[in-house]
């Protein structure tokens, strides 16, 4: 798994790619929680995720709940097939704000 973070004001953006599984998801979780500590709304781009298991989903849920407690926006962008499959399996595709692409959400400001 690879994690890239960047600022696209007003958002903090995390780009996850590769396999997000029990081995790598603790890093994804930490990156999400650290990003939320900046107090900025967070977008997590999943377009490069080739595999995600329940531990990856749990990291996203924890981030979403942490953001809500802080009154911050938390959105997912462009979940690729494997990531979208597990979000649907967990019935979370209707819970998370999901954007067609990172650019689409950023363009709306």
């Amino acid at each position: 798994m690879n994690i890239e973070t960047r600022d696209s004001p007003p958002f903090r953006v995390i780009l996850l790619s590769g396999d997000v599984d029990l081995h790598s998801s603790p890093q994804a979780r930490q990156s999400i929680l650290d990003s939320l500590k900046t107090g900025k709304p967070l977008l997590v781009d999943l377009s490069g995720v080739s595999y995600m298991d329940s531990s990856g989903v749990a990291s996203l849920v924890e981030g979403y709940q942490t953001a809500r407690k802080q009154g911050l926006e938390f959105g997912l962008a462009a979940p690729a097939g494997p990531a979208m499959s597990v979000l649907k399996l967990a019935r979370l595709d209707k819970v998370f704000p999901i954007h067609a692409s990172l650019e689409e959400r950023l363009a709306r400001g």
């Binding site: 599984d21 595999y51 329940s54 649907k88 399996l89």
Partner: protein, 150 residues
């Protein structure tokens, strides 16, 4: 059962990539379609995660064994370990409207399999989880009643 895979793996999170690749390769030889294979790999991955997390508590030097095979039109996988046995309450899926991290693994396994059962200890393994799913090896996956494929 027609064996497709019978192998021990270290029960480490770092072995999950190799486990998924091995299960995927075995499923390919079974004649399953891609959708069924992806679902099965996820189900087996979740079961192995449970072994690593809950049976072995991430302890070093532990192993698990995976057997994949075909029994008629059923794709069968055994996941064996010698850790702490799962409790009945651990095998119940939680309500999905209870939005919280964790607890999704059993839900995933139940959704992606037709049968899930613990066998009696044997062959040197204390815990033997058997997962089964009817498949159509002519290329199209059998649809489980009311279940959404991953």
């Amino acid at each position: 059962m027609q064996p497709l895979l019978a192998r021990e793996f270290p029960a480490y999170t770092s072995a999950l990539t190799e486990i998924r690749a091995a299960v995927r390769e075995a499923c390919l030889r079974s004649g399953c379609d891609e959708e069924t294979i992806a679902a099965w790999v996820l189900a087996v991955n979740e079961a192995c995660m449970n072994v690593i997390q809950h049976a072995y508590h991430f302890a070093e030097g532990q192993a698990l064994r995976i057997e994949v095979g075909l029994a008629g039109d059923e794709l069968v996988t055994l996941i064996c370990d010698n850790g702490i046995p799962a409790r009945i309450e651990d095998l119940q899926p939680r309500a999905l409207d209870d939005l919280r991290p964790g607890g999704l693994g059993v839900h995933f396994i139940r959704e992606l399999t037709d049968t899930m059962a613990y066998l009696l200890p044997g062959d040197g393994w204390q815990n033997r989880l058997r997962l089964g799913k009817r498949i159509d090896t002519t290329g199209a996956a059998a649809t489980s009643q009311g279940k959404e494929p991953a």
